[in-house]
Symmetry: C2
Amino acid sequence: MARIVQKFGGTSVADLNCIRDVAYRVKKETDAGHEVAVVVSAMSGATNQLVGWASDIGPIHDAREYDAIVASGEQVTAGLLAIALQNIGIDARSWLGWQIPIRSDMLHGAARIESIDGAAISDRMKDGQVAVIAGFQGISPGNRISTFGRGGSDTSAVAIAAALKADRCDIYTDVDGIYTTDPRIAPKARKLSTITFEEMLEMASSGAKVLQTRSVAMAMRYNVNLQVRSSFNDSAGTLVVNEDSVVEKESISGIAYSPDEAKITILGLPDQPGIAAGVFGALADHHVNVDMIVQSASSATKKTDISFSIGRKDLDKAVDIIHKNKAKLDFESVDTLSNVAKISVVGTAMRTQPGVAKTMFETLASIGINLHVISTSEIKISVLIDAEYIELAVRSLHTVYGLDDE
Amino acid sequence: MARIVQKFGGTSVADLNCIRDVAYRVKKETDAGHEVAVVVSAMSGATNQLVGWASDIGPIHDAREYDAIVASGEQVTAGLLAIALQNIGIDARSWLGWQIPIRSDMLHGAARIESIDGAAISDRMKDGQVAVIAGFQGISPGNRISTFGRGGSDTSAVAIAAALKADRCDIYTDVDGIYTTDPRIAPKARKLSTITFEEMLEMASSGAKVLQTRSVAMAMRYNVNLQVRSSFNDSAGTLVVNEDSVVEKESISGIAYSPDEAKITILGLPDQPGIAAGVFGALADHHVNVDMIVQSASSATKKTDISFSIGRKDLDKAVDIIHKNKAKLDFESVDTLSNVAKISVVGTAMRTQPGVAKTMFETLASIGINLHVISTSEIKISVLIDAEYIELAVRSLHTVYGLDDE
C-alpha cells in the first residue's frame, strides 16, 4: 500500500466525460489498495474565461479580487470530481485551499505556499476517503483566497505530496512524459524514462512547458517522487528523480528551445560599479523578465556594452524604459534584434564530460548558424540564434548528441 | 447618513456592462454619504450552468459538493463588482460566506442562516469601504460551503441588513416593484407603493415570485425595512413594511395566482385519528409539497374524504405514493384533477372588512367558474379553479376589488 498524489490538468478535466475518466483513473489506485489525494485544475477554458472577465471589467486590478474570481474554477472541478467518485462507489470529498488550509504569503496572483496542514486530510485518507483538492489556491494572511500563478496546480500537488509524505506524485497531463526535445519539430524525439530534478528545472526554464518551474524546485527540495504521465493513455511516463537515483547517466538529456525571444544591446555604458543594477533594476520595476545577460570586457575607453535577451512581446516596452533612463544610465546607443530564439542543451553529465559545448558550437557553425549570445550554467548551455534557424538547430543537435530514436 | 444594504439579482449582474451599471448605482449611495453593503447573485446563466454540471455528472448528489460547485457563481460576481467599484474610485472588497462568516445549519442545498458576524464588515464600512458580499452562501458546522436554495441571495441580503442594523435593504430586480397582480395577464395591474410583510408573504407563497418567502419572513422577524425596486430604471419601488406603518390601508392588496396545480381527492378513508398524518407524512417523506388541504365532514358510514392541491409536476409521484400505502391508509379510491390553478385574494384589511370572500365567490360564480377547493387564512382567500379560466378570473377579481389602474 502506498500513498499517492495524482494531479490532473485542465485538459484532463475539460468536460464531464473527462472528469468521469479521471474518476476511473483514481479508482484504479484505490482498487490497488493505495491511499489517494487528487489535485485538480480548472476545466480547460474556465480559467481563461475567468481571467478574461477579471481583466475586462476595468483597468485597476486588485490581485485579491482577481484571485477570488479565478480560484472558483478549481473549486467547481473539485466538487464535480468528488461527485463523480461517489458515483462509482468511492468515498470522496472536495477540499478548498482555505479548508485545508494551504497558507500562502500575501503575493496575490503569484503567491508562494508557506505551510500546509495535512492532518485532517491524512486522517480521512487512512479511513479510505479520497481527498479531492482544488489546485492553484491557498489562503493568505488576510484570510483571502490566494492563487499561485499559471500552472500553480503543479505546485499545489507537489506541496501536498510533501505535506502528506506521499510515496509518489503523479502529474497527469496531455503529453505522456518528458521528451528529449519537442516532438512537433523533431520527429525523432524520444521519451525519457527518467530525468533529474536539475535537468527538469533547466528544461522547464528553457521552454519545455510540461511542469511549472516552481513545482520542480519544490519537489527537489522536499525530495518528492515526481512522475509525468498522460491522462489519455496508460503508457509509462517520465520519472523526475534525484541525481543519485539515476544509474545510467545519459550524456545529454534534452534540447530545449524558446522561439520568441529578442536581444537588446546597450552600447557605450560607463564602465563603473552599479551600472548593471541600474539597467536591470529599471526593467524589473516594470516586470520585464530578463533571461541571458552578457557583459563584454571593458575597453580602454572606460566604456562597456551589455547584451541581454527578453521575451519578444516585451521588446518595445524594454527599449522605452531604457530610453527613459538615458540620463541616469549615460549610454551611447541601443541595438536590438527582434527575431531571435534560444536553444539550450541540458544534461547533468556535462559536469564530468568536457567537450559538450564544443560539440554544440561546431555543429551550429557547420550548418551556418551564427551565435548572438552564449550563456552557460553547470548543466546547461544556451545560445541565442536567428529564429528562422531554430528547427534546423534543434534537429541537428538532437542527432549529434545521440538523442534520436532509432 | 444611513446604512444601506443593496441586493442585485442575476439579471442585474448578467454581464460586465451590467456589473459596471451596478457599480454606478452603488456610487450614488456612497456619494450621498451612505454606508453601503452590496449583496450579489451569480451572473444570470452561471447558476444554471453550474447546477446543470452538478446534476449531469452522475445520479448521486452530495449536497455539500453541490454547494461548493454552485456557490462559485456568486464568488465570481462579488470579485468582479469589487474591481468595478475600485475602477470608479470607490474603496471596496469582496466577502465570501466563510470569510464573514455567515454560519448556517447542516441542510446543504437549502441551509438556514444561524448567525452572522457583522463586526469586521461594520468596522470597514465606517471607514468608508463598500462590502461586496457573495449572496446565497454561508459556512456549515463542518466548515463546508453551504447554500440557501434558489433565491437565497434575498435571504442573505435581509439577514445581513439585520446583522448590520441597516436602515434599509433595497432589493434590485428586473421588475420595478410589487404589483396588484401579474401585469402580463392583467394590463391594468398597478404597482403598490407599500405592502405589509404578511401580505407579501401570502403573495409570495401564492405565486408572486419577486422575493423568496424566507427573506420576507426574516425581514418581518427582524423588522428590516425592505424595498423592491428596478435595477434598470430609477422609478420608486415598493416598500415592504410593518402593518403599523401603513397609514391608509387598501381593502385588498393583490391577486396572486399559481397556474400549474393539481388536485387529489382520497375517498373513503376511515374516519379516525392519525389518518391525515398518515397521508401527508408519506407525501412529505418523498418531498411532495402539499398546499391547500380540505377534509369533508365524516358521514354516518364512519368514512371521510380528503382533498388537497399539489404542484402539477408532482401528481404522478403523489398518486403512486398513495397507492403504495393503500394497505396502511385503508381508503376506497383516489380521484385526480390535473388541470387546475390557484387564485388568491390577499389583504390585511380583510380582517376587519366582512364580505371579501362573498365578493370573490359571487364574482367567480357570475362568470361561470366552478370552485374545486376553498381555503382561507386571516389575510388570504384561495380557491382552486379549472386552469383554463385563470386569466379571466384574475382580471375579473382585479376589477371587482377596485385594483385597476385608472
